[in-house]
């Protein structure tokens, strides 16, 4: 029986000729990731471990991105703990303030994730690197500790759902709308324990940034990973960013899938996930007048250069509506610099938005944009759970950068065309 793309990568990493869904395997890891929230717990576990040192100082990435620059004393203590650990074990890929970015935007940019890799990260959005044809999945701190010590992890081989993308996206519709559409269709546990394998001719027109956004939110459908075929665009991206060798795997033609869906990209519309689950989606034409208080454009889902370009295209020459706070967060220092050189930051500031240093901050209700009781936020982030961005009585509407920017101008949930018609 044929294997899926994910199964082929896992078989190779386990040193097996073939694997089947449900099989338990032990795989060699190419990278183990942690951040300033999850790594301290892992380091504490490592201390208990009767093992001296880490398996490979170049195959561990520690990114201080959630609560930095530190928001309070406790988070400063956490970062200090990770900093000391990184120093002690000479971890080469330790990224602190000045070098850091939001981890899932940073690692591909630094060339640390390539096709064929097996990656675990103590952050649920580790599935992002599937955009490059890697197997990557989120784990907890104990698995991270065991991974750092041994360079191995056990997995149950997942079955897969296939998403066949055809056609081309209309203007103002993006990767975010594709993944919200899919989550709306299959639900927040629609891909529980499974791979989400994306395929089809429609992929060639999607930018790498769109693919990162889609793979990033596989976890929001319960998926173990999301993965894309490695085409010319992906190869060019890896050649540009990495000196590492990559390995291209393809699903067998007779691979088995639990379900298959075909999505015609040309039929998609700007899509918004209503409180309090990413599956509560509506297309923009189904949205009634919903007034908002805040807009966040950023995160590991939508803080990349393409996202900022789209937001700037909408905001150019416009003003953020009176009373709306619009927070723009470039995901890495490099993206920040490129956005500055392209003049995007000027557009944001002139429109009345603020531009922050890279941080996960508001996405998880950490800092840099916490919501008060009854407030509503349109956000390009990935979760709209109860209390996620602040008060339990606040509301999050997940959307694309285009919708977020247009909504900041009108003060209510809007798509760019609606905003243009009004002005």
């Amino acid at each position: 029986m044929g294997m899926t793309m994910t199964q082929k990568i896992l078989a190779a990493a386990a040193g097996l000729p073939e694997v089947k869904a449900g099989q338990l395997i032990e795989a060699e890891l190419d990278l183990v990731l942690g951040n300033d929230i999850t790594a301290p717990v892992a380091i504490h576990e490592m201390d208990k471990f009767a093992v001296d040192g880490v398996f490979h100082k170049d195959k561990i990435a520690l990114v201080m991105d959630h609560f930095v620059p530190n928001k309070d004393i406790k988070s400063a203590q956490h970062c200090k703990c990770v900093r000391e650990f990184a120093c002690k074990h000479e971890i080469s890929n330790y990224f602190d303030v000045g070098e850091m970015g939001i981890e899932h935007a940073l690692l591909p940019e630094k060339g640390l994730t390539v096709a064929g890799d097996v990656i675990i990260g103590a952050d649920s959005h580790t599935c992002t690197y599937g955009a490059l044809g890697a197997f990557s999945t989120g784990v907890g701190s104990t698995d991270m500790a065991a991974g750092m010590a041994t360079g191995k992890a056990w997995f149950k081989v997942p079955s897969a759902i296939k998403f066949n993308l055809i056609g081309k996206l209309p203007k103002w519709v993006s990767g975010k709308d594709i993944i919200l559409h899919i989550i709306g269709m299959i639900g927040v546990d629609g891909a529980l324990y499974k791979s989400m394998e994306f395929t089809g001719e429609g992929i060639s027109s999607l930018s790498m940034d769109d693919r990162f956004t889609i793979a990033n939110m596989a976890i929001e459908a319960g998926g173990k990973n999301g993965i894309f075929p490695v085409d010319e665009k992906a190869i060019n991206y890896m050649k540009e960013h990495s000196s590492r060798e990559f390995k291209v795997y393809e699903a067998d033609e007779d691979a088995q899938y639990d379900a298959e869906y075909t999505i015609d990209l040309s039929t998609l519309k700007p899509t918004i996930a209503f409180p309090h689950l990413p599956e509560n989606t509506k297309t923009i034409d189904q949205v009634e007048e919903i007034f908002i208080d805040q807009v966040v454009i950023g995160s590991c889902t939508n803080g990349r250069l393409d996202d900022l370009r789209t937001a700037a295209e909408v905001l150019k020459g416009k003003k953020i509506a009176k009373g709306i706070r619009c927070i723009v967060i470039p995901a890495t220092q490099k993206i920040y610099l490129e956005a500055m050189e392209e003049g995007l930051l000027k557009i944001f500031i002139q429109a009345g938005a603020i531009v922050s240093t890279p941080t996960c901050g508001p996405c998880l209700g950490g800092y840099m944009g916490i919501l008060a009781e009854g407030e509503r936020c349109v956000s390009t982030t990935n979760r709209n759970f109860v209390g996620r961005m602040g008060h339990v009585e606040s509301e999050i509407y997940l959307a694309s950068p285009a919708v977020a920017a247009a909504s900041a101008v009108t003060g209510k949930i809007s798509a760019p065309e609606q905003e243009e018609n009004r002005s």
Binding site: I37, K74, A122, V139, G140, Y193, I219, G387, R388
Partner: protein, 166 residues
């Protein structure tokens, strides 16, 4: 091994943000995390929960973030077992790794209500609703999993195993 206590019952998609909100993740101290456990979904939980009590929920319990702080908070609050129709995969792994017993059992999730007295036998996987006089067959815990739970986590278990092997 057995768990025995009063049930706190919740619905579908209980996410890790409500189990332990990120505003408390600047701490990794289990006691401090436990003091905010379930705060955004059930303010009274920490005041009412007693050592040995159980959480029972419907589908996709623990969805969202990979924060191990979520099962740590539940365990440190005194909860002896979580039963759900299904669990999100990262939560499932994390719970086992830190030694929090969890069981997937759709029938039990449906047949147990808030406040019921429930007993779980980890050896046989039998879940008994003592209030209603009903039983459900969950999956038994294999021996190694019971050892992880007794050792209070995977790392301790590995250490104990290593020293026994030597």
């Amino acid at each position: 091994m057995k768990a025995n206590g009063t049930v706190f019952k919740y619905g579908d998609n209980v996410d890790t943000d409500v189990i332990i909100p990120a505003r408390y993740l600047n701490s990794s101290d289990p006691k401090e995390l436990a003091s905010h456990c379930m705060e955004d979904i059930d303010k009274d939980f920490v005041n009412r929960v007693k050592t040995g009590d159980l959480i029972v929920a419907d589908k996709n319990f623990g969805c969202g973030s990979s924060r191990e702080h979520a099962p740590i908070a539940i365990k440190a609050a005194g909860v002896s077992c979580v039963i759900a129709e299904t669990f999100a995969r990262i939560f499932y792994r994390n719970a086992i790794n830190i030694g929090l017993p969890i069981i997937e059992c759709p029938e039990a999730a449906e047949g147990i209500e808030d406040g019921d007295e429930v007993e779980v036998d980890f050896d046989s996987g039998i879940i008994t609703n003592k209030t209603k006089g009903t039983t459900f067959q969950g999956q038994a815990f294999p021996e190694f999993m019971q050892k992880i739970i007794k050792a209070e986590g995977l790392i301790n278990y590995i250490n104990q195993k290593d020293s026994a092997d030597n």
